[in-house]
Amino acid sequence: MFRKFILVTLTVFMFSLNANAGSDGNLILKKNQPAEVKDCFENLNRATFAFNQALDGILFKPVASIYRVLPSQVKAGVSNSLDNLSNLVTIPNNILQGEIKKAGVNSGRFVINTTVGILGFVDVAKHLGFPEYEKEDYGQSLAAMGVGPGCYLVLPVLGPSTVRDTTASIANFIGGDAWYNVTVVNDTQHFSDFDYYASRVTSGIDFRAKNYNAIENLEKNSIDFYASVKSLYLQDRQQKILNTNKVIETQDDSDWEEIETQ
């Protein structure tokens, strides 16, 4: 009951924020500029980053290197299944962001891929011409409502985040993620806690394997790997919040312009 109360309160709070904040794209763009995000806990973040790197070397990197050699159809299938599960967080966030049509499209995608696509292994919806899938989460919804990112954070194991995104992720554990509800919260006969945590770990390995060379390359050629990862993460978040990969919308040209006049 208490959990339901919190969920309802959070939803009402988010809707009211949405109504008040409006959708000032420029303001959201400015708030989420990577250079604007303060690194208030830099020393702690760097220590956590070093810990994560060590963990990556011991666990994620070796497993990802094995995962990479699996047949591409298997890897694509696993990736599709994980994307399909993520719809369960994306759909409520489409609604929170007022994108009802997208929520409908993603619900259709989830139903088709879960059934015809054999638990999401095959992205049938894509073959049927559904638009490209864009993941959404509670952090993005808060950002779309005008909440700034707060300080940059590096979480143990989970990696880069911000105060806003970390806080918002609590919604996943109080009813906002149907997959978490049917695996961890509710005692169902079909799923167990293991299924949830296995899907999260697989998701991490899938990400590491997809970006295997890029991460190695970046680490080798960076003069401050921590700063590079931070910048790339914040740029990526900014684009996801704005639902765009259009360079023109996210790139601040003022510095380039200044170089012209030098």
Partner: protein, 196 residues
Amino acid sequence: MNFKKILIIFSLYIFSLNNVHSLEPDIFVQSTVNRASQILSENISKEEKINKLKVIAKETVDIKGVGFYSLGTARKTLTDNQKKKYSKLFESYFLKSFSSRLAEYTNPEIEVNGKKVLNNNYTIVNSLLVGTNERPEVKIDWRIYTKNPDNPLIRDLIIEGLSLARTQKEEFASILNSNENDINALFETLEKFSKN
């Protein structure tokens, strides 16, 4: 023939000359990519590949411009001597970093599939790195500096929407912040990277 006529003919000549020599940004990117791909698919040592890629980078990238962009607001406080030193150090750093990154790829297939003119100085060229069994396909956009249309230059690579120049700029800012904005600390870091 009066002076006015000579002037008109001369202007037309210059205009036609410009049209003949100006290089479209998308064609420039495709030809640059083709040159790099050819080197990467050659049966030569990695060291030789890196050296050949450095030559292409020197010809096609505005290294000085990227360097000053990467420096951010710190460039405003540099003396002329510091600027000279920085440009030299940045070029060595950039060429090493850029060519080492590229040399990891074997026979990359890049398809140029569009462009968007931002203004007289910039055009964004869109391309796609074709996926393989080892990596997914990757969208790569190129920020091309077109102030001199006869000699377009690359100023940034935007991979899946993530700008390499911006990342580099924030990396440099981090080094300066950690060293009380002492430019010599950045010089030392760049020098160390280039020598290793």
